[in-house]
């Protein structure tokens, strides 16, 4: 799980500072993905740099303070400082993303759909390899916080979520190996009827 002793510290810092409530999980993922040197960093370096970036962007710290390893400005108010005796409850509760439905689902089980073709210009959870591909709705997973909106600070914007399954040949064409399928979980705005 961890290569070096600093890695579990970064993991713990990420959870503890996330508990301040100044950003959400989707913003964390977005911060990591948009690091300029993403491809040259190890896994937990990405977490570390992403966390520093969020802290600076949200005004909790300055880059000078991080370089110096010493606080120079007064802290800003945060929603919560996680205490040791609150950790177990925080982890047990988690952050469920399912919300009540207010509109009917647009797609039904077994329906053929096509994924959006155009790449998003913001954080998204539609992987490139399934863009513009035809698949079938296999499960309807309820209404969930929409990662694309949530990452941009545009609120939860809950959307219907589906498991969509694709034949390997649809994804990989003639180089597809026989006998496999791939499914992913897609929010409704990723899909259109096929």
């Amino acid at each position: 799980m961890f290569h070096a002793t600093w890695e579990p510290r970064v993991h713990a810092l990420t959870i503890a500072l996330g508990a301040t409530g100044r950003w959400n999980l989707d913003m964390s993922r977005s911060a990591r993905e948009t690091l300029p040197d993403y491809l040259n960093l190890t896994y937990y370096e990405i977490w570390l740099h992403g966390l520093e970036k969020l802290l600076i962007e949200k005004g909790l710290v300055t880059s000078d303070e991080l370089s110096a390893g010493c606080a120079r400005l007064a802290p800003v108010p945060v929603g919560r400082v996680l205490k040791a005796d609150q950790v177990a409850a925080l982890l047990a509760k988690g952050t469920p993303t399912e919300r009540a439905s207010v509109t009917p689902a647009r797609f039904k089980l077994g329906q053929r759909v096509r994924t959006r073709r155009t790449p998003a210009e913001h954080h998204t959870r539609l992987p490139g390899y399934v863009r513009g591909k035809r698949g079938v709705i296999e499960r309807v997973l309820g209404v969930h916080v929409f990662a694309d909106s949530h990452a941009q600070g545009a609120g939860e914007d809950p959307q219907w979520l589906y498991t969509v399954v694709f034949d390997a040949a649809e994804l990989w064409g003639s180089e597809a190996k026989l006998g496999h399928s791939v499914s992913f979980d897609a929010w409704e705005p990723y899909l259109e009827a096929a």
Binding site: M1, F2, A4, W6, P8, R9, V10, H11, A12, L13, I15, A16, L17, T20, R32, E33, Y43, L48, L51, L60, V61, E65, L66, S67, A68, G69, C70, V81, L82, K83, A84, V87, A88, L90, L91, A92, K93, G94, T95, T97, E98, R125, L126, P127, Y129, V130, L141, H144, A147, L161, V165, K177, L178, G179, H180, S181, S183, F184, D185, A186
Partner: protein, 200 residues
Amino acid sequence: MEEEHSELSNVERRVRALETVMTQKGYIDPAALDVLIDTYQTKVGPRNGARVVARAWVDPAFRERLLRDATAAIAELGYSGRQGEHMIAVANAPGRHNVVVCTLCSCYPWPVLGLPPVWYKSAPYRSRVVRDPRGVLAEFGVTLPASTEIRVWDSTAEVRYLVIPERPTGTEGLSEEALAALVTRDSMIGTGLARAVGES
């Protein structure tokens, strides 16, 4: 080597600086960090998932609940929460094998499997298993019959997947605890099979 060593030290210094400034500003309680580190190093791990699988092997009613509503069934054994808020269990069967990945980052069901192994987070696994699962499984030492359909589950949203491996043959007399010892981490990701009796 020397450069690699100083590189590591730089990262360590950077983490220490971050931790110091966060503590000075009062944003973190160092004791909470210690609890978090201890939790993920000693308390949460694949033995949790192994207990879920073993229960499913011995208790058909539990297995049915697990396949219908995995979040609730897993919570019956006391496992829930962060990165396992919405669980789905997928069962292997003759002719059907399931394998889990997160191609976008490294989403993984923490309450039942702990934190992901290094290979699960690596770019080669994430990019290749959706394209050539049979080839990737072969590298893990898993060779499936050509007629077996493989399903790759890409964890793109907040749903987390747990594979229920097939129960090994010749285990009819084993206790639930002995069965759990046959359930490896990789068998619950789908890059392995449950151990045979007597296999280490």
